[in-house]
């Protein structure tokens, strides 16, 4: 059937040489190369479920009341946006499944982007010629966070309204234009009457269009520039070793797509997310403890909570407190992300083309920077839910805040140090092992199930042991492994 379709198309559109060329393209099969696909397929689920939701959602501030299946909110004044979200949850068949799958897909989408970005970072896959695709990827992360926040704000429940309130204050804190900008975006002083409609346009039209364009470009560049690969037998800068796009890689990719759908709809049906009926409709004078944003905004919420009570105030002008943790920090974060490949190029002087990936241990400094960055933002994210942490562990919130303030400074340094030492020890261990002649064991079983390699081949247990010995050594518990022959002969 596929053959017939192809013939039909060929007679009308042509391009069989192009197709042949693309279908026999080779992709490496490492499982870590599927992280980006997870993000892509989560995006597909977002588009499909989002289209369903948009058919029922009413993006308006109009005051109304609800009389559907959920009786505890009958006759309560609310916006049309909140009412239609309630109806999606209780009165539209399969609406709750779609809502929840959509929300889980959003959380997993950003998480997959972060994991994908980390893989790219630690393996140095952003180096020439892929700096351009790195910047596109970073842009996609930025847009994903914005898209998520816009979506989180749409139902006009107590938590999303609180989020919008804080966003308004952050916008207001921007020097020169803040107050004007806030009032312009919200259609007047907070809460305004426009923000839900505008966020809806942003959420279902402007940002998705950008997503389609940038994701297309991202993938086109991967195709054009060919995929990177890990070092291995017969692998070099001049070739790609893997399987062909058709049929094997396509089947693998379709499998990943199906599993992503399975997980997201499974979560959507089984695990409750964003139960807006508990939060209640938003009123500017109502608030709840334990209000947090979705996880990908947690670092901003955390930095707002941890930043000390500083602001710069003169006789006529002031730079208000939220500007530093919630406007300046994200600007610096994304500036650093955009700049990293170019910065590294400049610092190392390495301007060559790279298609074979680095191992994290061989670049201790880069890995240390990565570990410090992840630690910093992880601590901020935890701080974004410090009230929940305090509740779960029954500790004083003020003490916890002070602890997290210290941790946000010390933690990254510690993580960098440990990672650096760990990488160094691991690299040294590999070198020793190689010189001890272990690589003689390495069987070359081409076409096998992937356990190939010219280097040393250790049993999984040994690898674990070595990894932890390395970590222990990095933490200062003596470098036990170095004193012993690396192959374990005693």
């Amino acid at each position: 059937m596929i053959g017939r379709l192809a013939r039909w198309l060929e007679r009308r559109v042509g391009g069989s040489d192009f197709l042949r060329d693309k279908l026999s393209k080779v992709f490496p099969e490492s499982w870590t190369f599927l992280f980006g696909e997870i993000a892509l397929y989560a995006f597909v689920v977002l588009v499909l479920t989002g289209t369903f939701l948009a058919l029922f959602f009413d993006a308006s501030h109009t005051e109304t009341t609800y009389f559907g299946n959920y009786s505890p909110l009958h006759d309560v004044e609310m916006s049309a946006a909140y009412r239609s979200t309630l109806e999606l949850s209780f009165d539209v068949p399969a609406g709750l499944l779609m809502r929840q799958a959509h929300h889980w897909a959003a959380l997993v989408f950003v998480a997959a982007i972060v994991v994908h970005l980390s893989r790219i970072f630690f393996t140095g896959a952003y180096r020439r010629p892929r700096e351009l695709n790195w910047t596109i990827g970073v842009t996609l992360l930025l847009l994903a966070i914005l898209e998520g926040f816009a979506g989180y704000s749409l139902p006009d429940d107590l938590l999303s309204g609180t989020g919008a309130r804080i966003a308004y204050a952050i916008i207001e804190s921007i020097p020169f234009i803040g107050v004007w900008l806030g009032s312009l975006l919200f259609g007047g002083l907070f809460p305004g009457e426009e923000i839900i409609g505008r966020l809806f346009t942003l959420h279902v039209f402007i940002l998705p269009v950008l997503f389609f364009g940038l994701i297309g470009l991202h993938l086109a560049l991967v195709f054009r520039q060919t995929h990177t690969q890990f070092p291995g037998p017969d692998r070099s800068e001049d070739n790609v070793v893997g399987v062909k796009v058709w049929p094997t890689y396509t089947a693998m990719s379709v499998g990943m797509f199906m599993f992503t759908c399975a997980l997201l709809f499974g979560l959507g049906g089984l695990v409750q997310i964003n139960p807006v009926w508990y939060y209640g409709p938003y009123d500017p004078f109502v608030v709840s403890i334990n209000a947090q944003p979705d996880w990908y905004m947690g670092w901003l919420e955390g930095s707002l909570r941890l930043f000390p009570p500083w602001e710069f105030s003169g006789a006529r002008f002031m730079v208000a407190n939220p500007f530093f943790p919630a406007a300046l920090l994200p600007m610096l974060t994304f500036a650093a992300l955009y700049a990293f490949p170019f910065l590294e190029r400049r610092l190392t002087g390495d301007r060559g083309e790279h298609h074979v990936l680095d191992r994290a241990r061989d670049h201790p400094l880069r890995s240390a920077v990565g570990a410090a960055t992840i630690t910093f933002y992880a601590i901020l994210t935890i701080a974004g839910a410090d009230d929940i942490v305090a509740l779960l562990f029954n500790v004083d919130i003020t003490g916890l805040v002070v602890f997290l303030r210290v941790a946000a400074v010390v933690g990254p340094v510690l993580a960098a140090y440990v990672t650096y030492r760990w990488c160094r020890d691991l690299a040294a261990g590999t070198a020793e092992a190689a010189s001890a002649g272990t690589h003689g064991e390495a069987a070359k079983d081409e076409g096998g199930d992937g356990e190939q390699g010219p280097g040393q081949r250790w049993s999984p247990r040994r690898r674990w042991r070595l990894a932890f010995a390395g970590l222990a050594a990095a933490l200062g518990y003596g470098s036990a492994r170095r004193d012993r022959p690396p192959d374990g002969r005693s």
Binding site: P93, D234, A251, H355
Partner: protein, 300 residues
Amino acid sequence: MSGPGTSDREQLAATVLATLSFLIAIVGALAFAVVYIRGPEVVPAYTQLLGVSAMLAFGGAGAGVVFWAHGLMPQGPDIEKRKFTGPSPEERERTATVLKESTEAIGRRGLLGRLLFGALGAIGVAMLLPFRSLGRAPFPERARTGWKAGRRLVTEDGRPVRIDEMAENSVLTVFPERRVRDADSQTLLLRLPPEIIRPLEGRESWSPEGHIAYSKVCTHAGCPVGLYQVDTQRLLCPCHHSAFSVLRGATPIFGPATRPLPQLPLGVDREGYLIALGDYDVPVGAGFWTWPSAARKGTP
């Protein structure tokens, strides 16, 4: 083209597993359809069953495809030469030549070129201007609230508050009459044992019979400062945990807030209702660029 690279036995296993998986997928999809059609009135745990059947459908399809791919499709390794290593020097040369020739055909028109850019820039700026229609800078209203001398304090359902109705150590959210539920005017009215209040200088008369009122809009990021802790006499913002001392003019004592909550001067009218004696002396809520001048003059 390399074959699957697996034995017949493994191929058979893959075929059986893939078949089973696809059958599970079909059953899942049918179950989804049945659950959906029977509807939430009939099916208990409707959303959950929909989710599980969808998960089975997708998961089965995924597993089937992967068994198929691993067991029955060509496994490689296939090797492809990397064609992308940037343009060759000759190619670059050729493109440069073409560009140069066609550019020369235009001739040197430096002024026209610059004017074109100028025109485009001017158009860009002009076309951006209509976005100002969205609104003007919200002054003076950003520096003011609905409070005026003589306005009664009313609850969110519009009921005025009498001087004798609140219990000691209690709290109420109030608004100026005629501006009920106004976001910037929201105010916390507290009643304390009068002897424990330590008023700031000049505010000694602002708290009749232990009633004291602060803006409910946090000076950090604008959340409602909802938590009132009686034993420590603190107000707490649930968003970022700024704490304010109720007894000492709501000065911040913990968290990111830098400025005290503005205090509303209170009085009592002849009928015994609480009234405001004026507006807040500084803009409520989070800080902004012109805050200091707005605080001094009421407008920037």
